[in-house]
């Protein structure tokens, strides 16, 4: 009885917290969803798996930064490090809750890092997949 109560209480607290975390990223994801539909009529929603694969993929546009993981490490719940030696807060929303809430900041870094790593701009779908993966961790 007591265990059930504690578990129920934990759920009652945890569920709204998780929902809040996802809600904070929702406006930006909605905007990328609109843009993704405009780019591709076949678009049918963002994918955590595609986001993960994109994050881990190796590219050959630049020898200094072949992958997101070059600076962010393969574990988004851990801190990364810039090539100049400065710490980067974890990319996972669970660790850095204000990530992907400031559209201007997010666009600045996608603009820079997509060019640095892929040698091209990212599509709206790639951006949405990436954020969906980071919000799932």
């Amino acid at each position: 009885m007591k265990i059930r109560f504690v578990a129920g209480l934990a759920l009652a607290v945890l569920v709204p917290v998780l929902a809040y975390a996802a809600a904070a990223q929702k406006p930006l994801l909605d905007a990328y969803s609109v843009a993704a539909k405009a780019e591709n009529t076949g678009f049918s929603g963002f994918s955590t798996e595609r986001g993960k694969a994109f994050f881990l993929a190796k590219h050959d546009a630049a020898s200094e930064t072949p992958s997101c993981t070059t600076c962010h490490t393969t574990d988004p719940t851990k801190s990364g490090q810039t090539r100049a030696g400065k710490d980067i807060a974890p990319m996972a929303v669970s660790k850095t809750p204000d990530r992907y809430t400031d559209a201007e900041k997010v666009e600045k870094w996608f603009t820079r890092n997509c060019q640095s790593v892929l040698g091209r701009a990212c599509t709206a779908q790639e951006k949405g997949d990436f954020i969906t993966f980071m919000a799932s961790l």
Binding site: A62, E64, T65, T82, R83, A84, G85, K86, K108, T111, R112, N113, Q115, S116
Partner: protein
């Protein structure tokens, strides 16, 4: 009489102290960097002191942000403008700069790294510094804060 001697002694110590402090501005930037410059230019590295490079260097750096030491560090025109204004008014050869930082910088030379400035090379010429740069934790000589803990605030003295 002993009072006079101790007073003179204290005075001499104070003067000596001032003399030592007097050399500090060469090592330390005049003031910590601030405003838009810090916001936009300290995400990947510390906001390097504007006073340690001439205006022409900062102009070249800001004009090539799409190829910034192996990474794209592009800024929107709106974000770039106040950064450029700050660097222009705080560069080594600006009114608020330090002429000694410009010593031995050829007029046709546009250094793109502070570590290529003659004043920097001179200060870091000793064996101990060269050894520190080989330490993998330091990564590279541009990682000032690895040794100078107050670097982000413009503090570069031996004890900072």
């Amino acid at each position: 009489m002993p009072k006079l001697w101790s007073g003179l002694f204290a005075g001499a110590i104070a003067l000596f102290g001032l003399g030592v402090l007097g050399t500090e501005p060469v090592l330390s930037a005049n003031a910590g960097p601030d405003g838009a410059y810090v916001k936009e230019c300290s995400a990947c590295h510390i906001a390097y002191p504007a006073q340690y490079l001439p205006k022409r260097s900062w102009e070249r750096i800001l004009g090539t942000l799409d190829k910034h030491f192996g990474e794209n560090a592009t800024l929107s025109p709106a974000a770039l403008a106040p950064v450029k204004a700050y660097l222009d008014s705080h560069a080594a050869d600006s009114a608020s700069g330090n002429a000694r930082i410009m010593r031995d910088v050829g007029v046709n030379i546009t250094p793109l790294r502070i570590v290529d400035m003659p004043f920097w090379v001179h200060i870091h010429r000793k064996q101990i510094e060269r050894k520190a740069f080989d330490n993998p934790k330091v990564k590279n000589a541009g990682n000032c804060i690895a040794c100078h803990k107050g670097a982000a605030n413009g503090q570069f003295g031996d004890d900072d």
